[in-house]
Symmetry: C2
Subunit: 611 residues, 2 copies
């Protein structure tokens, strides 16, 4: 269960030899060290890349999933002196969907199901939950959210940490959070998180969904998918488990996750009432939310925008309501013929979330499930309500993101972002895809990666990945990797198009390496070095080929890059901005000299095979 492999450098010296190592950026205090991936190029330069992989890729740290990660943020939280430990909610077997009782204190033991390889109970040391303490003025519990601090003008260590990752000032992070344009999901009960910020003025982020269902998957698989997803670049992970062992799976995931964890509490609440939507109530839901707040969930999808009057708007759709949360709430509204309890108790929900710093992800329960239903009245009506709820959450100091579609053809994507930004006061948009066509099941990472790149460019702050198994089954480990890599491509393409100052450095470094035939540098700089290396080796496996000045596409005899380099060497040093343009005379004399030299060298385009 560790991401260290044969290629993980054991020391910095090893790293220089292997081409990369895990490094850290130093902050303003000794316990503020921000992990990065440092790629060491063969030309002596270093390239520093954003790193989401957590302590698993640091050979100096001994990780053990049975113990969990170190509570990186614990001191920062306690230093603020506005939280307290407390007994916490009583744990119950039904938290895991199990009928028989167990002794207080432990989680459910001996639960049935697919627990091969890991005990059901998380074996790490006992912990008491933490929450905002009562304020001295008797005004109720403190708001312990990054939004509350930002509004007060405070820069937290979490904000500084995120700023170092983004290469911006901590004050900028604070300002964006204070304005509601960004969130920093960081539950006080998930001190293991490495802080990160989500907002349109930062790098575009990627979320990976994991989670078992009634049909398939085990706890061990879910924990492994989480570490695997972050290894390839997932910025957050949502645990969408719906079957047995929901509580216990989540405990394992949280204690081992270096990234914020999101959930949909409604799924677990429904399990507690045996899947009968009409038995759901504010009380059952609230109990589940508190349970998850105490565990450390960093953000929660809440489908509070599915109002009774919107349900009939979906009746004429081609694929109706495709969101699970949306359809559960629609069923509840129909059964009770009442407004959704999520909507009527929304302020109360805010009061719970702000005492743990749990971030809202306001779910789009009426998102379109096919091209034909995109941007319809139901979707847009719900979005207006999410805008209203966003303002309420903000007044309550609760950080908030807004979820978005779904299935949208390319020409209707921009309208989605623009409308969301307008209606929701620029709150971070968090979109699923969108899929730009319905006709390619098995390739929906690609149908949606297209839409994701575009919507990211136009202002979406975080992209929820889609894997090749979408519509067909639950993703396995390979699907998780494919989904994450595809979405990292979309996010980075969006960063480039948005003109993020740091984004193009990476492309430039890789293109320089490509032009200069530094194959090892190309591999080490690649989003997926393993795949790049193995594809190259499939045609030219020999080790010398990795220093060869050609590739298998043109072969050793002829290579366009070589000709270009001759031209470039002739006409002076590279100057991308063109500020230093050649004069006409320079060009003419250069051309003549080049022409002469070329003739002297035998005018060869092909190069000797032995080179």
């Amino acid at each position: 269960m560790t991401m260290q492999d044969a290629r993980t450098p054991a020391t910095e010296d090893d790293g220089r030899r292997l081409g990369w190592h895990k490094g850290y950026l130093s902050g303003s205090r000794p316990d503020l060290r921000v992990p990065v991936r440092r790629v060491h190029l063969t030309d002596g330069k270093d390239v520093t890349l954003y790193d989401t992989s957590g302590p698993y890729t640091d050979p100096a740290i001994d990780t053990d999933v049975r113990r969990g990660l170190s509570p990186l943020r614990r001191n920062w939280i306690t230093e603020r002196d506005d939280t307290e430990e407390y007994a916490g909610r009583e744990l119950r077997p039904e938290d895991d969907g199990i009928k028989h009782t167990t002794p207080r204190g432990g989680l459910v033991r001996g639960a049935e199901g697919d627990l091969a390889g890991l005990d059901a109970v998380f074996p790490g040391r006992a912990r008491r939950p933490r929450r905002g303490r009562e304020r001295p003025d008797g005004g109720g519990p403190a708001s312990v959210t990054q939004l509350a601090y930002a509004k007060l003008g405070l820069v937290t260590p979490e904000m500084e940490y995120a700023a170092l990752r983004e290469r911006c000032s901590p004050e900028f992070v604070r300002d964006e959070i204070a304005a509601g344009r960004a969130v920093l999901p960081a539950n006080v009960n998930h001190p293991e998180t490495e802080p990160m910020v989500i907002g349109k003025n930062f790098l575009v982020k990627v979320n990976a969904n994991i989670g078992n269902s009634a049909v398939t998957s085990s706890i061990e698989e879910e924990v492994e998918k989480m570490t695997w997803a972050t290894r390839w670049g997932a910025d957050t992970v949502m645990d969408l488990s719906t079957g047995r062992n929901i509580h216990t799976t989540r405990e394992w995931v949280l204690r081992n996750s270096p990234v914020p964890i999101g959930t949909v509490p409604l799924y677990q609440a429904l399990e507690k009432v045996d899947g009968r939507a009409e038995r759901l109530s504010w009380e059952v839901y609230k109990d589940t939310v508190v349970e998850q707040c105490e565990q450390g969930v960093d953000y929660m999808t809440v489908h509070a925008g599915v109002l009774l009057r919107y349900v009939p708007l979906t009746a004429r759709r081609k694929t109706g309501i495709v969101s699970r949360g949306g359809s559960i709430m629609a069923a509840w509204c129909l059964a009770h013929h009442e407004e959704s309890f999520l909507y009527t108790h929304f302020a109360e929900l805010c009061d719970i979330l702000r005492t743990y710093d749990v971030t809202f992800s306001l779910g789009d329960g009426l998102r379109p499930g096919c091209i034909a239903d995109a941007n319809d009245t139901a979707q847009m009506a719900e979005l207006d309500t999410l805008g209203e709820l966003n303002r309420i959450a903000r007044e309550h100091d609760v950080q908030t993101m807004i979820e978005g579609p779904g299935h949208v053809p390319m020409h209707k994507i921009k309208e989605n972002v623009e409308r969301q930004q307008e209606v929701c006061d620029e709150a971070p948009f968090y979109t699923l895809g969108p899929l730009t066509t319905d006709v390619a099941p098995g390739y929906d990472h690609i149908t949606s990666g297209i839409g994701a790149a575009m919507i990211g460019w136009w202002g979406t702050a975080m992209l929820c990945y889609v894997t090749p198994k979408e519509h067909l089954g639950l993703p396995d480990r390979d699907d998780v990797k494919t989904g994450v890599i595809t979405y990292k491509i979309a996010a980075h393409a969006a960063d480039l198009a948005k003109g993020h100052p740091a984004a193009q450095d990476w492309d430039d470094a890789l293109s320089d390496a490509r032009f200069e035939f530094r194959w090892e540098d190309q591999f080490n700089l690649a989003l997926d070095p393993d795949t790049a290396r193995s594809f190259h080796d499939a045609t030219l496996p020999a080790e010398p080929a990795k220093t060869a000045h050609f590739c298998s596409m043109c072969g050793p005899k002829f290579c366009s890059m070589k000709i270009s380099r001759a031209v470039m060497e002739e006409f002076g040093p590279q100057s991308p901005d063109g500020a230093d343009a050649l004069t006409e005379d320079e060009v003419r004399s250069g051309m003549l000299a080049k022409s002469r030299e070329f003739a002297e060298s035998g005018n060869r385009v092909y190069l000797p095979l032995t080179e």
Copy 2:
């Protein structure tokens, strides 16, 4: 070497049972039958899809790669009575890069290299090439191009064939060709082609590149890649071979290809002068062009826009000149310090191409090879020259496309299309990708699929695919399939965004099947039925699961689609345009009725496992 497999229906009755069969649309004459893929849905409806797979997927046709395909268009060509057969150019061993001579008439026998499985010589019956006959008025050979016919107001069988595929009128195809906004590549010496049209007012097309290099690949592999690419939807194929057996490989490919074949004659010309660019000349190039015209190449990439004065403009680039053709011509210009012979002899080249109806694909030899070089002066200068050449070609009745980049970040893509359309009088744009980031070698089908979808939406007529092996090696059979499927997704997403009238029918049919849990229909309608089916079966392999009203994502107990269907059944028939909106009273009474019915059914969201 046949695409028929266990699932290819042997008869129409078999097809109905298996879910699809190869059908034909009838034209105005008995020999005009346009192939389609007819998907038979379990609800009794049929969906008709565009089909590029050629006779290989028709069980009624006995194909044999050693014999080649039937000359579908032969009568149409001879009926026009403006061409003649002639002796043709003498074949020479160096056409295949071989030094020893062989008897006249046969192609090169016993060539060395990787010819396992296929004879080097194409064994089909001898054929004499055909070209435009001298005009009775002594004005030189006839222009036998679709453009010449269109200008005269003629609708050819080829145009009608393409129109049936596009679901438009033959006159519309003629008008678009006459205006230079579309091309119909169809060399009189490639009568095996199934005609298709490329232009921004038609479905977006996809080209797949194949071809051996000095390092790898055999003739058999190349022929198989061609049939495999068309099986998955490639609309044209370019044979970019650069190593041995160029002539013979092309002969096998042409005689077996149901789609237009493109080449870059410069590659073969360079082989004939031992790879020494300065030894290239108009004479050697012209000889090669005539050789390929006589074989039946449908379109040729010509890098005539790389002018001497543009070469220094690439000196300050990050990756210089990355086009092989571009760098060969740059090397020639430098060696001779003269203007490119492709440019100075362009009118003469037009006179050759118009007597065979070979279409120009004016190459962008100075296309950018990385994000940093996108849309630079060199690229735009060459584009202006391509615009000038396009006008010359048009005056000579030669059909013309313009090639485009390359590597372009998302925010610079639109400018490319708009400028090309303006400078080149709306001639069809044919782009490679573009790749929207440089950082993901191994996934460049995805980095470029994003750009391809966008540029297709904005007006590119044909997308040249990029495979996962780009920058790393030559694509194998799996890479070809991945590249084609990715680009079919991009092309279809573009068709949807452009609002092509027939495009959304396909998405709607698949989404209806999805909503109604018609799994077999979903698979048969999918762009890649095999992958969709296998991904589904990986989680739920049992046959009953394919008729089950649930999927492995939510499991059998709970399903959002089911709830939606209940809502939909309540609130009346589906009407996507919403014209028939429900009144407020209808909604209220509907909600109450629904609420009552839901209560009576036990208010269950979960459904019994046995269902």
